[in-house]
């Protein structure tokens, strides 16, 4: 009623007629105060960096808060929502994973501004969209709470301004008095960074840049220098090789960049309707590596025979192809002659790779490859690989100079020589005496803890960078989150100290504008080019050249001298010998503080959380030691290290293999004190790093240390229902060779086991999600395991729990050794052959259509979907574990403890920063419930919803599980078996009657997962246990 005199104030302001109030009086919502946001976003530009800053702001704030005593558990909302980003919708950014020489072009999945998953970048011509376990795990290192929160002087925290001032002053004074400055780094793949270093050197001319690699390939570079006048590592085209011989080159696990080799190698191994032939792979090696496990023929030798093996192989081939033989003492290593025959036979389609760091050996290898006409076919000298640029000699010189006090300033970047250089101890002594020492390490590691200043560089996911892994192949690294801590990129620091503008993003842009844009075609402007490259993540003008495969190169090395050098160095000794090797999981130890990697079982030994002395059973008997017994490994003149014994079939007798990358002291909570540091056992021969040693003393040290192994039984007990194999020859005759079809005798005669059922079954009307796993192209690299762990928030349980056999991995890779025993000799079958054949079998929930686990659950916590998924309802589970007992595949995992929060499971997940890696689509499982592979149901749902929103069916292969996506060899095919266009349907269409088999077909679980039979390219009969065509 308009007459009313009564008036209500909206608070005192209105009564007072506040100015602010009046302004907003008629707005329902006063405009959000944007000032404080702008403080974070310096300059309101529109390009991605600011957007990322905004994106990252919330999470950065949370994590900073998390680093205080009492974390503020507050979600900070977007005050104004960034364009193109929606809560709970993933954004992907193309970027580049670089860790020293390790390289992968990747896509980073981010949620509300935090990276949660790494995928391979399919556009890359180097890594083909594959990933390795280390790449998958790298996202966890981003949220490592042991990292430095800001720059440090000694132990004191300082701010960047102070750090810059002091460092610049000291650099200046050192330079002015002509004192030597060294920048010590591992291999740098980034051309821009090299340019930055150059700028820095221009400013401080007394500086030199020293590169070294913990696992060096310096010898190869030298050899190619002498052989071809090219100080490079060529690129290898495994896909063109019919016969592949690897000599101590773990090219599928750790050699150079396995990711680049895996895909082409697998191509030569894959079989199918159109491809009935495969390459033959010989591997000669002192330790048992992943690559050796994939070989058709494997010959173990002692490190002291390495040169002789190569020489012998050369001579045998030379004898066949009419090359000049070299003088070399004969050596008795199995399959050597056969390898030579095959190599010679497949001249021009043969490839010999050698991991030796001895130039002379590599010279002979080059000669051998020359003889085989590999150059221009399987080896490409024109497209060198940049993964290993380290120079062992320069590094040694640096250490000598440092000891002699000739160094006044040193900067360490991606380098931890005190830990990973054999002479680290010497360096540690003198480091404190150097006037100015700076480290860019993200944590006070073994080296950084000894330097004057630590100016921490951010994780690659927080950084701008570029990389040139091989000539003509470029890629960009862009940040997926703003700096979590007060860190600054090494490049920016160098630029700052060089007195140059320190925005490295602009620097990279400019570098690309100047050096790469000219090589690009079809762009209207540099900005187009830049945006495209940033979007794709890669720019590869070198593809064309690489496709050609290089040109033939005449071997111009001096074989004779090489031969004599070899004859001098390699004398088959009788004493115990040592072979150091790199593990697929922690590698050189740079990422050691990553619990995912620490708990990743080694593909061959299945051991994690430790390194150990791997010896053969025979050697163990000679030494009178057994598994888990502590022995001291003593290289003369070096400190002895104590390691538990691991009995390794296939390990060369009289040789002990020890992994590098362990025994970190200052890496952080997960890595400290895990294993022993083996680097000090390495040595330098003619200036080249050597991972071998002769006359090693091994003695019982007394006591035991149990090795955490996820698999303790090595053989498959001749169970054809589990694992099936065949010879290539037989496969060619009959693609179904080696098939084992269990039958049940009924009144109507024998019937195939899974064609009988009590029940009427049920339909899968819409989708039928299934998987094919090709045992032939699975190289056991474990990328899928970590990919799964990252996607599904799988807890890390730690060493003791693994020993208790409680690891949580939903997807595991079973490794089976062959046995020499007869199929009915059960005790004998438990013992693996001395030099066994190996099969990798990825094992995950088989999503049985008749799932035994479902029947027994009292509370319906696990049921079946009409799309063929065996579903697990965590919050309904009461934890009787009946399902796990009744699972014939033993893929169900029980949460014995509250792995995510308890302090004794201190593996990043129990702190707020670490929790940022958690995938919000997947429940974090509580204590007392069962969990297992869900076929990444969250991805399936997302894919279906996307399709639904776009009013279409999901495209074939649109939906991928984490494991299938992570696999570098496409050994895992996932898809909808109801969709005839999907790859899985098309492969099954013919494989169903050829290589495909179901594990444990005879118990009629009717899995959704089919395995493709392992085919071995061997001439002899296979180890008898797994090949007879028998029927139940």
């Amino acid at each position: 009623m308009e007459h009313t005199k009564k008036r209500y104030w909206r608070g005192l302001e209105e009564l007072r007629n506040d100015e602010d109030f009046v302004k907003n009086a008629y707005q329902e919502f006063p405009s959000a105060p944007t000032n404080d946001l702008e403080n974070i976003v310096d300059g309101t530009g529109t390009h991605r960096r600011d957007f990322l800053k905004v994106l990252g702001f919330g999470m950065a704030a949370v994590s900073l808060a998390a680093c205080r005593e009492a974390p503020v558990r507050k979600a900070i909302p977007y005050l104004n929502k960034p364009e193109h980003t929606f809560p709970s919708i993933s954004d992907y950014y193309a970027s580049t994973y670089v860790d020293g020489g390790d390289y992968a072009s990747v896509l980073v999945e981010t949620r509300e501004g935090r990276p949660i998953k790494i995928e391979g970048n399919p556009q890359s011509g180097v890594t083909y969209g594959g990933t390795t376990a280390r790449v998958q795990a790298s996202v966890l290192s981003l949220y490592d709470i042991d990292k430095l929160k800001g720059p440090k002087r000694g132990d004191a925290d300082i701010d960047w301004a102070t750090a810059d001032r002091e460092i610049v002053n000291q650099l200046g004074s050192i330079a002015s008095r002509g004192g030597a400055i060294r920048i010590v780094t591992s291999t740098i793949l980034s051309p821009s960074t090299k340019a930055v270093v150059a700028d820095f050197i221009r400013r401080y001319p007394t500086t030199t840049h020293v590169m070294y690699d913990a696992n060096s390939a310096f010898g190869m570079v030298q050899a190619n220098q002498t052989s071809f006048g090219r100080a490079v590592i060529p690129s290898y085209n495994f896909s063109r090789a019919n016969t592949i011989v690897g000599i101590n080159a773990d090219f599928l696990g750790t050699w150079l960049n396995p990711l680049e080799f895996a895909r082409p190698y697998a191509e030569t191994r894959k079989l199918g309707k159109t491809k009935r032939d495969m390459s033959r792979h010989y591997q000669f090696e002192p330790a048992f590596t992943t690559t050796g496990a994939n070989a058709d023929y494997r010959g173990p030798y002692k490190p002291s025979q390495e040169g002789l093996v190569v020489a012998a192989l050369y001579n045998k081939v030379a004898a066949k192809l009419g090359g000049s033989p070299i003088s070399a003492t004969a050596v008795d290593v199995p399959h050597l002659d056969k390898a030579a025959t095959d190599l010679a036979a497949s001249r021009g389609r043969a490839l010999v790779v050698c991991g030796s760091n001895d130039p002379n050996v590599q010279v002979v290898v080059n000669a051998l490859n020359g003889l085989l006409g590999s150059y221009g076919t399987t080896i490409d000298l024109n497209t060198p690989l940049n993964y290993r640029q380290g120079n062992d000699v320069e590094m040694n010189t640096f250490i000598n100079d440092a000891k002699a006090g000739r160094i006044q300033g040193v900067l360490f970047y991606n380098a931890n020589p005190v830990y990973d250089h054999p002479r680290g101890a010497e360096l540690a002594e003198v480091l404190p005496r150097i006037a100015l020492s700076v480290s860019f390490a993200d944590r006070p590691d073994e080296t950084a803890s000894l330097v004057k200043y630590i100016t921490p560089a951010p994780h690659y996911l927080e950084s701008w960078n570029d990389a040139e892994p091989k000539a003509g192949f470029f890629s960009l690294t862009q940040p997926a989150i703003t700096y979590i801590y007060k860190t600054r990129q090494m490049q920016s620091s160098l630029l700052t100290w060089a007195g140059l503008p320190n925005d490295f993003q602009d620097y990279v842009r400019n570098y690309w504008r100047a050096n790469l844009y000219p090589r690009a075609t079809g762009y209207s402007s540099f900005d187009d080019f830049w945006v495209k490259s940033l979007h794709d993540g890669v720019f590869e003008p070198g593809r064309a050249a690489a496709a050609v495969g290089g040109s033939g190169a005449a071997f111009a090395g001096n074989l004779a001298t090489a031969a004599t050098a070899i004859a001098q160095r390699y004398r088959a000794g009788t004493g115990m010998e040592l072979a150091l090797y790199e593990k697929v999981s922690v590698g050189t130890g740079a990422q050691a503080n990553n619990p995912w990697l620490q708990e990743m079982p080694d593909p061959v030994t299945k051991a994690c959380w430790d390194n150990y002395a791997a010896i053969s059973q025979k050697t163990a008997n000679d030494l009178g030691v057994e598994q888990n017994q502590l022995v001291s490994v003593q290289v003369e003149g070096r400190p002895a290290i104590e390691l538990p014994v691991l009995i390794q079939p296939g390990q060369t007798d009289g040789t002990v293999a020890v992994a590098i990358g362990y025994g970190r002291q200052k890496a952080g909570r997960s890595a400290n004190g895990v294993g022993q540091n083996a680097y000090p056992l390495a040595s330098f021969v003619n200036g080249c790093l050597s991972f071998a040693a002769a006359n090693v003393k091994i003695e019982k040290a007394g006591g035991r240390r149990e090795i955490a192994q996820t698999q303790t039984h090595d053989t498959v007990m001749g169970r054809l229902a589990v694992l099936q194999e065949a010879r290539l020859a037989d496969y060619k005759k009959n693609p179904a060779a080696g098939a084992y079809i269990p039958k049940v005798v009924t009144s109507e005669g024998p019937v195939v086991a899974d064609e009988l059922s009590l029940w009427h079954g049920y339909g899968k009307p819409n989708h039928s999600w299934g998987m094919i796993i090709d045992l032939n192209s699975c190289i056991g690299c474990n990328a899928c395991v970590i990919g799964c762990q990252s996607e599904n928030n799988i807890a890390v349980v730690g060493r003791q729990e693994v020993i208790n056999r409680r690891e949580m991995h939903w997807l595991r890779i079973d490794r089976y050794y062959s046995s020499d025993a007869d199929a009915d000799d059960l005790k004998g079958l438990e013992v693996a052959s001395a030099n066994p054949e190996v099969t990798f079998q990825p094992m995950l929930c088989q999503h049985c259509s008749n799932a035994p686990c479902e029947t027994v659950c009292p509370v319906l916590a696990t049921t079946h979907s009409s799309e063929g998924l065996n579903q697990m309802t965590y919050n309904r589970c009461v934890g009787t574990r009946y399902c796990a007992n009744n699972c014939p595949y033993k893929v169900r995992r029980f949460n014995w403890f509250k792995y995510f929060d308890e302090s004794e499971f201190d593996y990043h997940f129990n702190n707020d920063l670490g929790k940022m890696v958690i995938n919000p689509d997947v429940t974090v499982r509580s204590r007392g419930v069962i969990e297992k592979c869900s076929f990444c149901v969250q991805r399936i749902q997302e894919g279906k919803l996307t399709a639904k929103k776009e009013r279409r069916r999901p495209l074939p292969d649109e939906i991928q599980t984490a494991c299938a996506q992570a696999c570098p060899t496409n050994a895992i095919i996932f898809g909808d078996m109801n969709n005839p266009e999907s790859t899985i349907s098309q492969v099954l269409a013919y494989e169903a009657n050829e290589r495909a088999f179901h594990v444990l077909k005879e118990i009629n679980t009717r899995p959704q997962i089919s395995y493709l039979r392992k085919i071995r390219n061997k001439d002899e009969e296979l180890k008898k246990e797994l090949t007879q065509d028998s029927q139940a």
């Binding site: 059922s757 009590l758 029940w759 799932a851 479902e854 049921t863 079946h864």
Partner: protein, 177 residues
């Protein structure tokens, strides 16, 4: 025992031996005395027959309760697994009868037992709060009591007492409620 609650005068013959009671009951009845009830420390076979108690129908009750159990189980399983929320479990049919047999059996037994015992307790007027009608406390120990309701008998008290004594009663007491 509705007809013997509170008021009323009873003649209670106390016996020492079960066989004696058995025979006494016959004798006393022959001599035309209406026996109210006999109380014994343990069951004496045939006593209820000679006393002329009707045969109990507990069995029928038990059967009906059992039947209820069976039906409940059938309905329960069918409703929950077939109609209310059928699910795919282990590839079996949503309603697969054989697996319900254990449930059906157990529920049958359970309801049968509980129902019958309940019936027993109620039909005998038993219950935690019931005050027992005791003619002689020793009947739960070693004595056997034959209660005769004088109000229901024509014969004189003395005669009945004699009959009791002749038929072997160790003592005869008067119980007034």
């Amino acid at each position: 025992m509705a007809h013997a609650n509170g008021n009323g005068k009873f003649l209670v013959g106390i016996f020492d031996d079960d066989d004696v009671v058995l025979k006494a009951v016959v004798k006393v009845k022959e001599s035309g005395v209406r026996i109210h009830e006999v109380y014994t420390p343990f069951p004496i076979h045939g006593l209820d027959v000679v006393l002329g108690h009707p045969r109990t129908r507990l069995g029928i009750a038990a059967f009906l309760f059992g039947l209820t159990g069976t039906l409940c189980a059938l309905l329960l399983t069918a409703y929950m697994e077939r109609f209310d929320w059928p699910m795919i479990v282990g590839g079996k049919d949503p309603y697969s009868f054989p697996v319900y047999i254990p449930i059906i059996f157990e529920l049958t037994v359970l309801l049968c037992a509980l129902g019958m015992v309940g019936t027993f307790i109620i039909s005998n007027g038993l219950g935690p709060t019931v005050k027992p009608l005791m003619f002689d406390l020793r009947t739960t120990d070693n004595k056997f009591a034959m209660a005769i309701d004088l109000s229901k008998n024509k014969l004189a008290e003395g005669d009945i007492e004699n009959i009791l004594r002749q038929s072997g009663a160790a003592e005869v007491n008067v119980k007034q409620f």
